[in-house]
Symmetry: C2
Subunit: 354 residues, 2 copies
């Protein structure tokens, strides 16, 4: 696992002097100190990552990672697994929710096949990074091998490398597609936190009460069968995760290793970010939480990561939709820091200094 380990070691801390200079400028702006709330620390973090006060997030890309899940055989989703591949085509054709939300914020959407159970045409304009055709059913054994888990993360890193090679990349967003992947993601946070499965498991695409109770039992069985080691994030990913979850973690490590801020989306993207940050705590400095999803396990991921989500719009879709809207807030934060004038610049008495 040399690429993964090399990149984890390559992550450096953002520029703390720039963060301090940014906070000082924010305090001097012609408005009450602290009056722009979360925008202020956000803008300081972005300045510290970029190493400059006037940050421009012109090039924004959302990578939506898709894969299938063997656990779908347990009947944990209302949608058949074929929808994963169908939605990949929908993303490519630009008619999906993420297509529309990304366009609204000026971000590009790039789709990655990490493990969809479908043979995509080689010419389809996606990242072809298939680690396998669906994971195995984790309620009966490991979802994937340890080698596949590392490979899925390294595919995420490779995607960031390819994007960076294409041209400047200022902000990365992560998104997911994969029928049954809320089941795997709830299992991941359960493995790390040890909290009761019922407190971490939501309705996914819309299970009824009976479906939800069944989903909880399937996850409980998966954890009992596999006994993932919470001190070994690769083991957690391999036993109960998913190929796209691994790649989503790789995106975070890849972005952090390139000093690029990365905003994660919902339950699945955050499961990937969690694995990344358990492996590489230094990556947290580059990570932003886009939104709080309606999936009840999401907030426990945010708690464990120690980051607050920017938006709470009751989304439960994935694809990168919450990350897309948060990208606009991050871009706004850069303008707040650089463009709002100081008391001195506009000649107003600074009551913040009273």
């Amino acid at each position: 696992m040399s690429l993964l380990n090399d990149r984890i070691k390559a992550i450096t801390a953002p520029d703390q002097k720039m963060a301090a200079a940014a906070l000082e400028r924010l305090r001097n702006q012609a408005r009450p100190a602290g009056s722009l709330g979360v925008m202020e620390p956000l803008s300081a973090r972005l300045a510290s990552i970029a190493g400059k006060m006037d940050v421009h997030l012109d090039s924004k890309v959302i990578v939506t990672c898709a894969a299938d899940h063997g656990v779908v055989a347990e009947g944990v989703s209302r949608f058949p697994k074929e929808v994963t591949a169908q939605m990949v085509y929908n993303f490519v054709n630009g008619g999906a929710a993420i297509s529309i939300l990304a366009r609204h914020v000026g971000a590009a959407v790039r789709v990655a096949d990490i493990g969809v159970d479908h043979d995509f045409e080689p010419e389809l304009p996606i990242f072809h990074k298939k680690v396998g055709k669906s994971t195995a059913n984790f309620s009966r054994g490991p979802a994937m091998s340890r080698e596949e888990a590392v490979a899925s993360m390294e595919e995420g890193i490779a995607i960031v490398d390819e994007l960076v090679a294409e041209g400047p990349l200022h902000l990365l967003g992560t998104g997911d597609m994969g029928i049954a992947n809320t089941t795997a993601s709830s299992a991941v946070i359960a493995a790390f936190s040890g909290l009761p499965i019922s407190s971490l498991t939501g309705r996914g695409t819309g299970l009824d009460d009976e479906g939800l109770a069944h989903k909880i039992r399937v996850i409980e069985k998966g954890l009992a069968v596999n006994r993932p080691n919470p001190g070994d994030p690769i083991d957690v990913l391999a036993k109960v995760g998913g190929f796209e979850i691994g790649a989503l973690g790789g995106l975070v490590i890849g972005a952090a290793s390139h000093n690029i801020p990365v905003v994660c989306d919902g339950l699945i993207s955050t499961a990937g970010a969690l694995i990344a940050c358990e492996l590489a705590p230094a990556a947290k400095a580059y990570l932003f939480a886009g939104h709080r999803s309606r999936e009840i396990g999401h907030k426990f991921m945010h708690q464990r990561l120690g980051i607050d989500p920017l938006l709470d719009l009751d989304f439960r879709l994935g694809e990168g939709t919450g990350a897309a809207l948060a990208m606009s807030l991050l871009e706004c934060a850069t303008r707040v820091l650089a463009d709002i004038k100081t008391f001195e610049e506009v000649g107003i008495v600074d009551a913040n200094r009273n």
Copy 2:
């Protein structure tokens, strides 16, 4: 008060058939039903207001209403009242927070002098709508006469009329500037709700504990001296409100009477919206709450209006900053409804119908 009354009577209900058609289209989109959370009812409301499915909010204007407050003499703000006029110039010059946030979302900022204690140059590109040079100190008597209260609301209506005469206006945002105007706004919600002043009064631009306790006493005194009648919104505005608060209410009634959606900002803008909707409950159908401010009285205004704020970014600035960011979400909602493809359009099995 014929203009005000005429416009209140002119407000019609949005197109409920269009709202139903919008909800049906949302349910048919190729994603789990309800998965875009608050975006969905939002987009349906915007469609019902516009009377069409494909709404474009291209022309967005934030009107920032400024006025001074006699109650500033009681020492309820850390900033001197001269800052109100200084900030008007800062808005016009484009260096203020609202200038930057509005630019980020593609909205224009228009400033209105409703009662600043300063003689602005007639050529200054603002709406010159001065009702008086500052209100009186409401802790010793009424802030303004009943006639001035009506006039301040009618100036808000006149501003919308002028904007509409200039060209298409698809979305209006409201914002405020006025040293000491959180004091007046907390008094307004206190007058309507009867709740304890201490539960409705925040630190404004940054009062310390002693300053906050003093501000609460000033508001208590103002309510005891004036005894505003909660059943008579014009009386509440006149006794403890402000000129810009009246105009902010007029903007809501004006927008509603032109079938234009309007998004209000923080404590002061929402105080104006509250007066508007107490006078004209039909205006609520056109009103959107931009964000929840750190000012503790704000949530009680939202409760009374029965609308949930879109954002919670811990802002406490005003100017229209929270409304600006919310405008982007409203615009996104229109794209969600019109542009996300349906199951049928993309040929995917619709599990929402299972």
